[in-house]
């Protein structure tokens, strides 16, 4: 099967002008403008297969949203090729958007002042959803997303989590094969986040919906996708399997242990040696980080158990945040999995 999303040398440039400061600067701005070209997205390449669930991550301003907006037909690329679901999004926006679902976590596509169900009815018409399908999907969402209780509430009266669930339901009423999510869990509490993740997994499993989601919450990615694409300053730094990335790029392991009592704290100094650091988490909890290549986990644990009286001990992988942070810092390009 051909990829459902195909992106080749895609670039988006914005032209802005440098604003000078102060009164004199403002006057100068009126007459002489110094233009700057911002490469929001800079010659990126990737392909996504039907049914995949891909996490698209990057810091603020890395180019995530700009990419999503080009893929959804909102922005016209400066250069490059993009084909989604057989369409060139910006060229055929009206037909293309009929077969995709889009959620922007910071905005709502629902009408602010009217009951949620009224917006749904409108979507039913514009996506030409048959009555039976509409009713069945509404029931399905009512159950799995529990939106039933506030279908008759105006959007402005909903909490962020409730609104988000309604927006998700709205984006999937027409059962699109392709779903774009831009920061779907932003600002949500743990319970709400979890609910949305479970729902996305379910939709992806049941309907084989292809999902591309951006986030800067990496726990979203760990929960949801096997594949991640990391973008920074408009360039793709990494594209590949999440597990593979951890295996290749995790540098440290960490051991967390709980001391039996305070008298043990003094003995910790003996551990400070090459490639090992020990940080205090709270009074009796400490986290020891060590280079995987220089020290074996077994050896570190043995030393801890031999020299300290500990109550509990846990071995952890390096958190994905730390790995990604390192990728940003080193700007490691050339990790892309086989370029198309």
């Amino acid at each position: 099967m051909p990829p459902i999303i195909e992106v080749q040398d895609l670039s988006k440039e914005f032209r802005t002008f440098r604003r000078r400061e102060g009164v004199w600067g403002a006057l100068q701005n009126l007459f002489v403008r110094e233009y700057l070209t911002v490469h929001a997205v800079d010659r990126i390449n990737f392909a996504i297969e039907p049914g995949e669930m891909v996490g698209y991550i990057g810091a603020n301003g890395a180019g995530k949203s700009t990419t999503i907006k080009m893929l959804t037909g909102i922005l016209v690329p400066t250069r490059g090729r993009v084909v989604c679901n057989g369409f060139v999004p910006y060229r055929d926006r009206r037909h293309y958007t009929k077969h995709i679902g889009v959620v922007f976590g910071q905005r709502t596509q629902l009408w602010w002042d009217i009951a949620v169900i009224e917006s749904f009815k409108l979507l039913k018409e514009i996506y030409e959803i048959p009555d039976a399908d509409y009713r069945r999907r509404l029931d399905f969402f009512s159950e799995i997303l529990s939106v039933k209780d506030y279908l008759h509430t105006p959007v402005r009266k909903l909490s962020l989590g409730e609104r988000m669930r309604c927006d998700l339901a709205a984006s999937l009423l027409h059962n699109p094969p392709l779903l774009f999510l831009d920061e779907p869990t932003i600002g949500l509490d743990v319970v709400a986040k979890d609910r949305i993740r479970e729902f996305l997994k379910e939709i992806n499993r049941q309907e084989k919906t292809t999902v591309l989601l951006t986030t800067h919450d990496l726990s979203d990615i760990e929960e949801l996708s096997r594949r991640i694409i990391i973008i920074d300053k408009g360039r793709i730094l990494f594209d590949g399997d999440l597990v593979e990335m951890k295996k290749r790029l995790a540098k440290y392991n960490q051991v967390k242990f709980f001391l039996k009592d305070r008298s043990q704290v003094a003995k910790l100094d003996t551990f400070a040696r090459n490639g090992i650091s020990c940080d205090r988490v709270d009074e009796l909890t400490y986290l020891m980080r060590f280079d995987r290549e220089q020290h074996s986990t077994a050896e570190v644990i043995r030393d801890i158990v031999n020299q300290l009286q500990v109550r509990d001990i846990f071995v952890e992988e390096e958190p994905i945040e730390d790995i990604v942070k390192r990728i940003y810092l080193s700007g490691e390009v050339g990790l892309q999995k086989g370029e198309a």
């Binding site: 909102i74 009206r94 009929k98 922007f104 905005r107 002042d113 009217i114 514009i126 049941q206 309907e207």
Partner: protein
Amino acid sequence: MSSSAPTALPYPAPRPVGRSSLGRNLRIYAEFVRVGFVNTLAYRLRYYTGIVTYFIYVTVYYFIWKAIYEHSTNIAGFDFSHILTYVALGWIIRSFYYNNIDQDMAYQVMEGKLAMDLIKPVNIQLMYIAQALGESMFRAVMLSLPTAIVLLLVYPVRGPASARHLAAFLVSVILSFFLVAAINFTVGTFAIRLKSILGLLRAKYFLLELFSGLLLPISFFPAIFQKIFNFMPFQYISYIPVLLYLGKINGRAIAASLALQLFWVLAMFALGAAMWKWSSRKITIQGG
């Protein structure tokens, strides 16, 4: 996506891509009209104060014109009862055709919400105008009708010149709505390239009130202006519909006026569509 995979919900076969039929399109945009209507319900309180506001406008003009007519009985073919009716009808129909499409678009651009419009598989111009139509239908019932009743009770407003003139007037008012909506959409598209157009909108607001004939009948302007206005759509917003009501346009000129008004509606729709096409390639959306 294989069709053999067992799924809890049936996967609808993608519909063949092609031009939507007129009937389907009408249903879609009728739905936007409905939502525009329902959405306005949330602001119904605003309309009670609107009735008072419109009454005050007409009252102010009543006294101004009364002072002016102390010294003459006929100005440019209008006697006092004509001018009073002209003012009252002008404001009554304004309460119907008025909309904020341009301002809404300006805010969508400034707040980065245009994206939420663009992800919908619809024609953006028709979407905005359909929603505004829903709102205007609401205004017709909640604002124009009560305002008309109050004004008729308080001031000696003339009746329509004839049943035929009344019919022509009603058709013309509906065309006024589409004309204003098409102009406002066209102005709204400027927001995409200029980012902030609130100043421009304020200027447009006053020019439209003046050029449409709402503040002053077009026949009161110097002859050269009247000639220029003949090549512009604005007098078809207010001046022409009210002249039809007053019976100052007669015979074959009635049909000709309506035909010209329709021409301007279509021309403004075409201009708006072209402006949208030209601007939408330049959309930049900040934030989010």
